[in-house]
């Protein structure tokens, strides 16, 4: 571990944050951000051009891929860690996304292996018992651009994630109303594929879907969702990667067996090997659909004024965040901000001794799972959670 961290620091020169991400002037006032990728290919424009979005890193215009700059996550320990809706990352697979939704005409269909097929209006859904949960939504490929060797796909820095308070109804309540039977639940939304490409749909087992934390949300940080984040309804699967958090959800289908569609059988699959890691270039290894997230800690600021950031526990609460300035030989507890529940961001801050340091930070969740310094590799560029480092003089 110590060696791995030392090597990593040596090799990457503590670039984890990307030069631009730590610039002292507000990022949205600049026109470019640098995500710090190995081929010096991480420069991206910042854009205000997408409705309801401000200061976003433009990854792709059509279908939209917008990343949140790390500075947007920054705040004092006592600040709410929620990512504002106008800074929340955007990720669609296909270009044909819903650009207009009539709230009165919209229906959520529950069909397939059910005793009563349902077609529910938003009013009907809002008249059911409401629940709310704070949860981090993180793209499976968050940080893909930092993989080595590099892999094709959206070249995200660390900002394909965000924390929001989601308000909605329990999926289990909807499934009960429909009299769900079968073994799996397939979710699809209003986005449409080009030509004959496969419809985007994701599937959970019925047991996963019935978890009390899984909700169908109509609220994001106290207001309706932005269209770009899935208005009017979005599936929230706390602790799981974003690929399951189907946007503009209008179809819930009960299946009597696993989903054999492209987006479950071929895409979003990870090696079954420990840490989802294989030797670079490996092929024909066993895979499984991506699922639960891992703990991660990020820097949002590392300068003479403050060394601080956000952490997540993955699929369980953050137990501790620690920092090291001796390449992982010794670790010290960081201060933690308020706990917003096991699935949310937790703010952290470190008080370092004077001097110039390469500081590493790692999160450990309540299951005892912690971050490692040696990076993982898989061809999809999924599940990166390597220990982050930053250079700082205090």
């Amino acid at each position: 571990m110590d060696d791995a961290l030392r090597q990593q620091i040596g090799r990457r020169g503590a670039l984890a944050l990307g030069a631009g991400a730590l610039a002292s002037s507000p990022l949205w006032a600049q026109s470019l951000v640098d995500l710090g990728f190995s081929e010096n290919d991480g420069r991206r424009p910042l854009t205000d051009a997408f409705p309801g979005k401000t200061g976003m890193i433009l990854q792709r215009t059509r279908g939209p891929l917008l990343e949140t700059p790390m500075a947007a996550f920054d705040g004092a320990l006592s600040d709410d860690p929620a990512t504002p809706n106008d800074r929340f990352f955007v990720r669609w697979h296909y270009a044909d996304i819903p650009l207009a939704v009539d709230a009165a005409a919209f229906r959520l269909h529950i069909k397939g292996a059910v005793n009563r097929a349902l077609s529910l209006s938003l009013d009907a859904i809002q008249s059911m018992p409401a629940v709310e949960i704070a949860a981090v939504n993180q793209c499976s490929g968050n940080s893909r651009g930092l993989f080595g060797p590099r892999v094709p796909g959206a070249q995200w820095g660390n900002g394909a994630m965000g924390h929001a308070v989601w308000t909605g109804v329990r999926l289990a309540d909807l499934l009960d109303r429909a009299g769900a039977t079968g073994s799996h639940v397939k979710f699809a939304g209003l986005d449409q594929p080009p030509g004959d490409a496969p419809w985007f749909a994701k599937t959970l087992t019925l047991a996963e879907a019935r978890s009390r934390d899984v909700i169908v949300a109509y609220g994001m940080n106290g207001v309706q969702l932005p269209l770009l984040n899935g208005f009017p309804l979005r599936l929230i699967v706390p602790g799981y990667y974003s690929t399951y958090w189907v946007k503009a959800l209008d179809s819930i289908e009960l299946l009597t067996g696993p989903d054999t569609g492209y987006w479950m059988e071929k895409a979003y699959r990870i090696p079954t090997a420990p840490r989802a890691s294989v030797v670079p270039g490996a092929k024909d290894f066993p895979t499984a659909p991506i699922g639960r997230m891992l703990p991660r800690a990020f820097f949002t600021k590392a300068d003479a004024q403050a060394v601080r950031g956000i952490a997540m526990g993955g699929d369980a609460g953050v137990a501790k965040v620690e920092w090291s300035i001796d390449a992982g030989k010794s670790w010290h507890a960081a201060q933690l901000g308020r706990d917003h529940g096991q699935y949310g961001f937790r703010r952290w801050a470190a008080v370092l001794p004077r001097g110039s340091h390469t500081v590493a930070v790692r999160a450990t969740n309540v299951r005892g799972i912690t971050q490692a310094a040696d990076p993982i590799w898989n061809p999809g560029g999924y599940m990166r959670n390597v220990i982050e480092t930053a250079k700082v003089t205090v």
Binding site: F50, G63, A197, D213, G219, H340
Partner: protein
């Protein structure tokens, strides 16, 4: 009084007071109704990034489903990797790209990244 009240009261008594610890039912249904749902419609910006004229074969075959940034933001890919991507577009997403064009396409994609296509 909502069903959730005793739970909320209990959490407060325990000093837990973690508003979002697990989904807790919102009090008196107020939370749900407080979120007004109204129709939305947006217009997306048009893309500004284009491929050089010399990469016309890429523009023709590769920008129907996604904007050019999808290609321009990729790390340096070897010819075999580009060939795999082209094949993936055809098999996974049913792109109608003539297989006979693959060698020319791959060469154009590599040239784009080399900066030899201007």
């Amino acid at each position: 009084m909502s069903r959730a009240f005793p739970l909320v009261a209990l959490l407060l008594l325990l000093g837990g007071c973690q508003r979002y610890a697990t989904p807790g039912e919102t009090r008196t249904g107020g939370g749900a109704r407080a979120i007004a749902l109204s129709s939305q419609s947006i217009t997306l910006p048009t893309e500004s990034v284009t491929l050089p004229a010399s990469a016309e074969i890429v523009s023709t075959n590769c920008t129907a489903c996604h904007s050019a940034e999808q290609i321009l933001t990729q790390p340096r890919l070897k010819p075999e990797q580009w060939a795999t991507e082209v094949a993936k577009m055809r098999t996974a997403y049913k792109a109608s790209i003539a297989e006979a064009d693959d060698p020319k396409l791959v060469a154009a994609l590599v040239a784009l990244q080399d900066g030899t296509a201007r």
